[in-house]
């Protein structure tokens, strides 16, 4: 199906299943421990051996020797693979460094060996017997040091990523009110609960990976490229994924090493990355330095905006671009955005939930708070006053498809009791606690990508949907079932959804907040094809028929769905060029209240609210969960999360879940989420946009602004831990 023009009225406008809060259809399996994750597929292949990965002890340099004599002789050991004996594998999609093989070390804890043994205990024990010698090389590990000489990154059209509009310099120079501040965000870890894990088995030329991966089709193609084999001989299966957040978008060492080890051992091998290896072995969100300059008139209208961003990565590729929201959020005639990328020898940086926009909002939405204070203007009012017209301020050739940011902010202010906020910090107090309120706006693009599915009708009238789409906690199983039930006119429990298998039609996968919009549109396309096949078989025009309650009504005629017998249709949704004229985005108003201990600076979040504008909400229950989950991750980014760089040795020191603190239950209060009742006809036939990343764009800054409102101390370097401000709190008796 081609989506070549804005969606008109369609069956989703009168939907009875889509759009209703629907408990997850995979809930009974997940809550009883019956949903099988990658490492747990005991039944898929016999005689599985256990693999254990060894990580490099240095960050940069070369292996001079490896000795596995003792490891090979250790009890239970079946096979050992060593990087020094293995030619470096190819790079898969968006891999910045080879995932195994060769003597070159490009980051700490890079996989350099794997021991395969009869038991996990034997593999782990023997892995510690491998001796490795290195020549340590010198590397660049300090972003602040190398940033000043970093070149511009390349944009998606491979041009240097510096964009101007009007004349920023003169407009800023002549602006009556100016803000010029620099902000820092740290390296962050996805820290999903399920470690990267794979069971690999070869059957002749054919490789099967039971793995944990967000993007099955990318994974299949990448794996073929990495190993130099035909993609037809690779199968991935990931029906359940214990979290990803971008960390499982690409093939990582677990899959590659399991495949190589299985070949060597001549039997199936299962392995999981041990938690202490994950931060340095896999990917992370790169740190940023962001300089923001905003000039405004005394009336609060912005005349000049500049946002410059520096980040770093291995090989100087694809950093974290904090400027992404800046062309879109606020009006202003004179603009500059620039994105610089330094070469660093830290582990590989890559996508993490709302790459670019998440840290971009962390900086930019503090800057707006600072500007509001300079203007003596309410922060909500400042944003409302700079609401753009119908075109994107930084890219006037693009129209907004649908934008209700002002409604989000107004509605949020009212619900949150924003009028309680005092403009002067430190004015609200509750015993030992200073109370502060903060807010931020949020924008996240809402892309949609080609997505396919196969839909089958069986003789019992059940609808079986098969697609390689994944559910990483996003609720894909349920929204796909809702979509099929709605389109085919059957109850939800008549739909069976099978996901995550590369033998199914390729979907858009889970990433970039595009999964929900794209995959449901693909399922819709396949369902429309199936309806037409049913119509052809039974002799009616399906497009004019009503499918309801397992029946088909066509004027005077009606059929049972089962009369069609078993049928199958496969189709995909393709998104047409017309969308290029639009900026399709999601918007939010984020609000937070914090209490800061006046003595120690300990901060507790008291309340959080997000009002979201994301078109049709397919399943308000799971969409709300996506948003609150992103708000939790934003709270972590605001208050505690930081991969600490040891700049001498070039690695993340706090590489486990005790060292890298993420929020726990006690940190997170009741969270409110409101979805505006909007529709976006440009995004897809469903008029629905994703929300999984919108929720992390803004709340961290809202918390930062609330801490400032409580304390009067402005911290511009995340995470905002108490040591950065408590000494500036008023003296205590």
């Amino acid at each position: 199906m081609e989506f070549n023009a804005p969606a008109g009225k369609n069956l989703f406008d009168t939907s009875t299943i889509v759009g209703k809060p629907t408990p997850r259809i995979d809930g009974p399996l997940k809550t009883t421990g019956q949903a099988p994750y990658a490492y747990e597929r005991h039944d898929v292949v016999p005689n599985q051996a256990y693999g254990y990965i060894v990580g490099s002890a240095i960050a940069k340099g070369r292996i001079t020797s490896m000795d596995a004599t003792e490891a090979r002789a250790a009890p239970g050991v079946v096979a050992v693979i060593l990087a020094s004996d293995t030619k470096a594998v190819g790079k898969g999609m968006l891999n910045n460094a080879p995932l195994f093989g060769g003597r070159d070390i490009s980051h700490y804890h890079q996989a350099i060996a794997c021991v395969v043994a009869e038991t996990f205990e034997q593999a782990r024990s023997a892995a510690a017997l491998i001796r490795t010698s290195y020549d340590r090389g010198s590397g660049q590990f300090d972003l602040a040091k190398v940033a000043p000489s970093a070149p511009l990154a390349l944009d998606d059209k491979k041009r240097p990523d510096r964009k101007t509009l009007g004349d920023f310099d003169s407009a800023f120079a002549s602006a009556p009110v100016k803000l010029d501040a620099t902000y820092k965000t740290p390296d962050e870890s996805h820290a999903m609960m399920e470690p990267h894990a794979t069971i690999a088995a070869w059957e002749g030329e054919k490789l099967t990976l039971w793995t944990s991966n967000q993007m099955i089709n990318w994974g299949k193609e990448s794996m073929a490229k990495i190993l130099g084999i035909d993609p037809k001989n690779v199968r991935l299966d990931s029906p359940y994924i214990g979290g990803g957040f971008g960390g499982k978008l690409f093939i990582r060492a677990d899959a590659v090493v399991a495949a190589l080890a299985a070949k060597q051992a001549n039997r199936a091998v299962k392995l999981a990355l041990q938690r202490p290896l994950m931060a340095n072995n896999t990917t992370h969100r790169p740190a940023t330095i962001q300089r923001i300059r905003i000039g405004a008139g005394k009336d609060g209208r912005i005349t000049a905006i500049a946002h410059e961003n520096w980040s770093g990565n291995l090989n100087g590729k694809d950093g974290e671009n904090g400027t992404l929201q800046t062309p879109v959020l606020y009006a202003g005639a004179n603009r500059l955005t620039a994105n610089y990328i330094a070469t660093l020898d830290l582990p590989e940086g890559n996508a993490m939930r709302a790459p670019g926009e998440a840290p971009g909002h962390m900086a930019f939405e503090i800057a707006m708070d600072e500007l509001a204070e300079k203007l003596d203007l309410d922060p909500v009012e400042l944003r409302v006053r700079n609401e753009p017209s119908s075109t994107v301020p930084g890219a006037p050739e693009k129209r907004f498809s649908e934008r209700n940011l002002v409604r989000c902010l107004r509605d949020g202010s009212e619900r949150f009791g924003w009028e309680r906020r005092k403009a002067t910090p430190g004015q609200l107090r509750d015993g030992q606690w200073l109370i502060g309120l903060g807010m931020a706006a949020g924008y996240r693009a809402a892309p949609a990508n080609k997505s396919g599915a196969r839909v089958r009708l069986d003789t019992a009238g059940k609808i079986i949907v098969e697609t390689d789409m994944t559910d990483i906690g996003t609720g894909s199983y349920t929204i796909i079932a809702q979509t099929a039930a709605e389109t085919m006119g059957v109850p939800l429990d008549h739909v069976v959804v099978k996901l995550g298998d590369s033998s199914h039609p390729a979907s858009a996968g889970s990433g970039g907040q595009w999964g929900a919009a794209s995959s449901t549109a693909g399922v819709y396309a396949a369902c429309v094809s199936l309806r037409r096949k049913i119509g052809e078989k039974l002799g009616f025009n399906a497009d004019d028929a009503t499918f309801r309650d397992g029946r088909i009504i066509m004027g005077e005629r009606s059929f049972e769905l089962t009369e069609a017998g078993a049928l199958s249709a496969e189709d995909s949704i393709d998104f047409g060029k017309f969308k290029d004229d639009y900026d399709v985005g999601t918007y939010a108003g984020h609000f937070a209240e914090v209490a800061v201990n006046a003595y120690t600076g300990e901060t507790r979040i008291q309340r959080m609210l997000a009002v979201c504008d994301a078109g049709r909400i397919l399943n308000p229950l799971s969409a709300r969960s996506q948003v609150i989950g992103a708000m939790v991750m934003a709270a972590g980014a605001a208050m505690m999360e930081e991969l600490v760089v040891d700049k001498r040795f070039g690695f993340f020191v706090n590489h486990d879940l005790a060292g890298y603190e993420v929020p726990v239950h006690a940190d997170i209060p009741h969270q409110e989420v409101v979805f505006l009742d909007t529709l976006d006809p440009i995004v897809s036939p469903m008029k629905a946009k994703g929300v999984g990343e919108l929720g992390i764009c803004g709340p961290a800054a809202a918390i930062a602004n609330a801490i400032y409102n409580a304390t009067g101390v402005r911290v511009r370097e995340y995470p905002i831990t108490l040591d950065k401000y408590f000494e500036k709190l008023p003296a205590v008796a």
Binding site: P276, F649, V653, G659, P663, D723, E727
Partner: protein, 316 residues
Amino acid sequence: MRAFTYERAKTPEEAAAAVANMPGAKFLAGGTNLLDLMKLEVETPTHLVDIQDIGLDRIEESGDGGVRIGAFVSNTALASDKRIRRDYGVLSRAIVAGASGQLRNKATTAGNLIQRTRCSYFYDTNMACNKRQPGSGCAALEGFSRQLAVIGTSDACIATYPGDMAIAMRVLDATVQTVKADGNVRSIPIADFHRLPGDTPHIDNVLERGELITHVTLPRPVGGRHFYHKVRDRASYAFALVSVAGIIQGDKSIKVAFGGVAPKPWRVESAEAAIADDRAAAMAKIFTGARPTPENAFKITLADRALAAVMAEARS
């Protein structure tokens, strides 16, 4: 984790003998710290002597009006005990400020006392660490030290004692009771139990090889109001940046010990008399000789403000 043999001892003396007589043997209580470190091969025992069956799981009156706590009493059981909550509230509060419900159900009184440091470099076997591998150096000295000690450190080690329970025991003047393989027992004041690192940071405490903690005794209750204020980056399930265990009497006299700042629970009794009237002077005395790093110097001010918070709460 290296292979090991396992046995369950039946009496404290038998346990002590089993460890004393076999090189590479260690006691196993709850295992929440030891197994964590064994998985990383930071700890590499070849034999484990499980003490769960040796009858040290009771909290009893000690005869002199105090309390005797068995080595194997779980953190939860200790924190939940009615008498502990009533008469030694600081101890109950300290315990429930530590770890998680699951860990407190498994962790024991003796095990918690000998919990090892959480320094990231101690945990990473690729890094130099004198505590893990004597003579290898200390990667933390000029590395990531925000969590680490500001006082009591040496050029060889700046690790922090990470526990909470022992901080309260220090302010309660607890005594650690032990038994050796030959049946000899000794009583070690909690003040003397943990060692400062000096040149031998691999030795955390004064226990001898095969010496088993059997009990911790608490003296007769001292009354007063009990506080444990733990400051950390997240609201729960995290190690202290700084913690304060305090007992404040009606006459404003105060006993205070600090956690998160030193290789052992940090208490300077001689400074306590001055706290009520001149906290700054008292704190200066308590932290005399501190050698913080640029990353953790804030802990000294934080300790002061955390103490001020406790004193303010006592006034309210």
